[in-house]
């Protein structure tokens, strides 16, 4: 693979880098807000993937001017508008849930929430006995 190939595929490399960064944050962070942000980065990489595939170098917006012109494919761009809306809705809902979790547990750290739940379930051993 020559340098031109690598540079020519620059957008796609960035898609993979962003996707991996996003996934890594989702998996590795215990802070619930950071997880939502990671999810956001992950989704952004998909936006970039769709936008890149519609682009033709030297292409313009698809507007009829009478002269023959090279234009970029607008369909992936339109599709990704929908996906962006979905992404915004997901982020909003995720953060709203984090607010409710903060109110209910007084923390947004995954391990602390887990510890509180474990205490609730197994800590009070005397009333579990039949």
């Amino acid at each position: 693979m020559g340098t031109t190939d690598i540079l020519g595929l620059f957008n796609y490399w960035m898609v993979i880098v962003l996707m991996m960064i996003g996934l890594y944050i989702v998996v590795s962070r215990g802070n619930l807000v950071k997880k939502v942000v990671g999810l956001n980065i992950f989704q952004t990489s998909v936006f970039l993937l769709y936008i890149s595939m519609g682009k033709i170098s030297g292409g313009t917006a698809p507007i009829l001017t009478g002269k023959p012109e090279v234009y970029s494919n607008p369909l992936p761009h339109v599709l990704i508008l929908t996906a962006i809306v979905v992404g915004v809705a997901t982020t909003a809902l995720g953060l709203a849930l984090v607010v409710r979790i903060k109110n209910a547990y007084d923390t947004i750290e995954e391990d602390e929430i887990q510890a509180v739940d474990d205490d609730d379930e197994f800590g009070s051993a005397e009333d579990v006995q039949p």
């Binding site: 996934l23 989702v26 992950f42 997901t90 409710r100």
Partner: protein, 494 residues
């Protein structure tokens, strides 16, 4: 005249009702609206199924834009039965939900509950009926986002519903995004999003790395949504802590709609001739399905919370459905579609019975179940009948699906798999028996004064139990549609 517009009405009616329900100030009004919409949707889906069995495939072009460019709604036997299942279950769940939700969700949230319910209903119907890959993603997200809210509404009973909803949101979004990456890669190679058009163009391109990657992304993404082992971790808590009516609805429909999409993409879009199709089945789906059957059933045996026990059992049952499709034969797919339908009936009934227990006692643990055979005889009788169906007793729907699955395994010369299916059913006997034992053989605690569940909960539960027995005795309708669906998916329809 209106008959030609049925496919779009199936989705649009609940979609319009959802924002309208926000304006209802009282939960009861919103409930009445949802119930009417659900009945209308059921009538439409019955009409669609009759038309499909009569005339074959129905195609509807949205806004009169011709098929490969515009969005097409396409109804054949494979999705007509799933539409019927979703709208049928919804119509049974809503009368149940009224009492159950009034009890489990705060009064000022009840209107919004029905709005989210209608959105979820719309999303599920939409992702099943659509013939457009990207449209399927949009509806998948509509149903998922509203599902997260519905699960979180269980927070009044147990705050863990919030964390369960959050985990489901993260996992569900990953799954849906994987799916949309796959769809994007398909578009990149074929320039089309129409499922029928994709099905034609993919064999022409043949073995291509982008397509193989698309296949992997789509199967993995949908695997997450349908809780295929080991991607099921979101499911047990989401089912355990969601309000009872939501658990019933989700267990009976949400994973089923995702499974339908998986069938549609694997068999119709990529087709059995696709290079990685065979290896994906033999080395990935079949082993995972068998592990799910055993691992999830074994975990179910050790659960204290009965709702969570049944949730693990659902993961195991998804294993049976995926096992059927991994044979890639007509009988195998028939068993998958049959079990998709039958499992919704049995799990719906079981979760309804548990919902009645939750309403009376606030939870459904092994401890709560003590002596319930005496204090709530009708609820427990429903639970036992549903449990027998889950195990696969003759005269229940569970037997029909297990029978087809075993026959399919034997037809493919996989006798070992057939033995494993029967052996894993014994695990179901164990976890159902544990509940039956404490409910019938132990005395109720003296302080218990709660009696039988109200009729508004019992009647829907027994309607589903009735369906379990009816379709278990006379399976001619379900098997006929399932076989037709299998032929459609394999592309050998007459």
């Amino acid at each position: 005249m209106i008959a030609t517009h049925l496919p779009i009405l199936q989705v649009v009616v609940p979609l319009i009702a959802a924002p309208l329900s926000v304006f209802c100030r009282r939960g009861t009004v919103a409930w009445a609206l949802s119930f009417i919409v659900s009945i209308v949707a059921l009538v439409i889906s019955i009409a669609l199924l009759v038309q499909v069995l009569d005339q074959g495939v129905l195609s509807y072009e949205l806004g009169n834009w011709a098929a490969p460019w515009g969005i097409e709604y396409r109804v054949d036997a494979a999705n007509a039965i799933v539409l019927l299942l979703i709208s049928g279950i919804s119509t049974v769940v809503l009368p149940y939900a009224r009492t159950s939700i009034a009890h489990e969700v705060e009064a000022n949230n009840q209107t919004l509950f029905y709005t989210c319910y209608l959105l979820c209903f719309t999303g599920l119907l939409g992702m099943v009926i659509t013939g457009d890959a990207f449209n399927a993603f949009v509806f998948l997200e509509v149903s998922s986002l509203s599902t997260y809210v519905l699960v979180a509404m269980g927070a009044k009973r147990d705050r863990r519903a919030l964390t369960a909803a959050y985990t489901y949101l993260v996992m569900g979004t990953l799954g849906a995004t994987f799916f949309v990456i796959g769809v994007g890669l398909l578009y990149m190679m074929t320039g089309t999003l129409n499922i029928a058009d994709l099905a034609q163009k993919i064999p022409e391109i043949g073995a291509n790395r982008t397509l193989v990657v698309a296949f992997a992304f789509i199967v993995t993404g949908l695997g997450l949504k349908l809780a295929l082992f080991p991607m099921h971790l979101w499911l047990p808590n989401a089912y355990a802590f969601a309000p009872s009516a939501v658990t019933v609805f989700l267990a009976a429909t949400a994973t089923k709609a995702a499974l339908y999409l998986l069938l549609r993409f694997m068999f119709t879009v990529f087709g059995t001739g696709f290079p990685t199709f065979g290896p994906a089945l033999t080395y990935m789906l079949l082993p995972l399905a068998v592990i799910a059957m055993f691992a999830a059933s074994t975990v179910a045996i050790f659960q204290v919370d009965i709702k969570r026990m049944l949730a693990y059992s659902s993961v195991a049952q998804v294993g049976y459905m995926v096992l059927g499709l991994s044979f890639a034969t007509v009988t195998g797919l028939t068993s998958t579609v049959l079990h998709l339908f039958n499992h919704a009936l049995m799990k719906g009934a079981l979760f309804m019975a548990l919902g009645a227990v939750v309403m009376r006692f606030g939870d459904a643990t092994m401890d709560t179940m003590r002596g319930l055979g005496r204090t709530m005889p009708w609820t427990m009788a429903a639970f036992v009948t549903g449990g027998l169906s889950l195990i696969g007793m003759p005269l229940t729907v569970g037997f029909i699906s297990k029978w087809y699955l075993v026959v399919a395994a034997l037809e493919s010369d996989l006798w070992l798999i057939a033995v494993l299916v029967l052996a894993s059913s014994l695990l179901a006997v164990i976890y159902i028996w544990r509940v039956v034992e404490v409910a019938y053989l132990e005395d109720p605690p003296v302080e218990v004064t709660a009696g039988e569940a109200p009729l508004t909960l019992l009647i829907p539960t027994w309607v589903l139990i009735g369906a379990n027995i009816y379709f278990g005795i006379d399976a001619s309708l379900t098997t006929r549609v399932a076989e037709e669906a299998a032929r459609v998916l394999l592309g050998t329809a007459s």
